[in-house]
Symmetry: C2
């Protein structure tokens, strides 16, 4: 949604109850059975990073390019997006959904990867520089879910003393009108889910 808003493309938003997946979702993404799915001219595209690239490709002349024009910068953006998905999100999710030793190990792993990212940001406002780009959009949901995980667990993962640039990035990203007007509808969470980590996680996974 954020990428479509950057491009100024109109769209319909269909919400999915992931505990009771619609036939439309199962038909559009039979391999992963997950959201998001973008349906463009009747054809479905799944996987958030694939969707982001598609939006940038198909509306390449609208507003600005989400991926850098320079091939090397573009490769770096893809590298860090992939890093977020493969190396950073899994320990954060594990930290949130486990207990004891397993949780401690996941915490250490998450901190290690967050430090890597802190150095990538290195005094920049956004990963894309002065405006948000591919990496910001790809990692953007983390800026939203990490504070929720922190509230529920009562443990802070990203503190401004340890992660000054990541903290500023999260605040800056969430503060963008484009982003804050299109966050996941937390108020629609069933109250019974709030205490159930997995229930909440699944919903956020939408």
């Amino acid at each position: 949604m954020w990428a479509l808003r950057i491009k100024g493309v109109e769209y319909d938003y269909i919400e999915e109850d992931l505990r009771n997946k619609s036939n439309l979702l199962l038909e559009c993404n039979p391999v992963h059975k997950k959201v998001p799915v973008l349906i463009y001219q009747g054809k479905p595209i799944a996987e958030s990073d694939v969707i982001l690239e598609f939006i940038d490709d198909v509306w390449k002349d609208l507003r600005y390019r989400i991926l850098p024009e320079d091939p090397y910068e573009c490769a770096m953006a893809r590298f860090w997006s992939k890093f977020g998905l493969d190396k950073l999100s899994p320990p954060i999710w594990k930290w949130f959904t486990t207990q004891g030793k397993e949780q401690e190990d996941a915490y250490e792993a998450a901190m290690e990867q967050l430090l890597v990212l802190e150095k990538v940001l290195d005094e920049k406002k956004f990963f894309g520089g002065e405006r948000i780009g591919f990496v910001d959009l790809s990692l953007g949901s983390l800026s939203y879910v990490i504070p929720i995980y922190e509230d529920i667990t009562g443990v802070r993962l990203i503190t401004s003393d340890k992660f000054p640039w990541l903290s500023a990035w999260m605040e800056g990203f969430l503060g963008l009108p484009l982003v804050k007007e299109h966050l996941l509808p937390l108020d629609k969470l069933r109250p019974s889910d709030l205490g159930k980590r997995f229930g909440l996680g699944f919903y956020l996974g939408a």
Copy 2:
């Protein structure tokens, strides 16, 4: 290497001993400490799918495009490449490196994902159609390592009765001069590794 050969780009090939990683590798890929790494004008790029996209971007006018020009076809190529990395390779690797119940489960999971891929190929010679493209290159190493895994375990994963198109694809891919002249140098495997699944796996992982 296959992608560089498609583009007709000259390169130097530096082999890594992954049991004794060079400083060059550790400096070029400090995050993953893995091969392959492409060094272009002194700048390193890691992660095989990121490298493939970079090669296609930076030498976009040489020979033919590795990724489809059409944005939707391009999204599909990215989707299936990602599927190979995320959903297919892990159970195949697990099947090869575990025993008992764990191995049986991995076998089932691998077969399920291979069947998905068989349907994607659907009577095509290559995933890219008449010539190899992004998905072929991305999954290409499987055509090479699966028969080796099969030889070592004595179990066939891809039989021509269950997977007629995948079998034909593997044979077709490995038969291309471009590919067969640039396979990993199996003859350089230390004899002592042949019996050690992990040793072999690591080397092939290079």
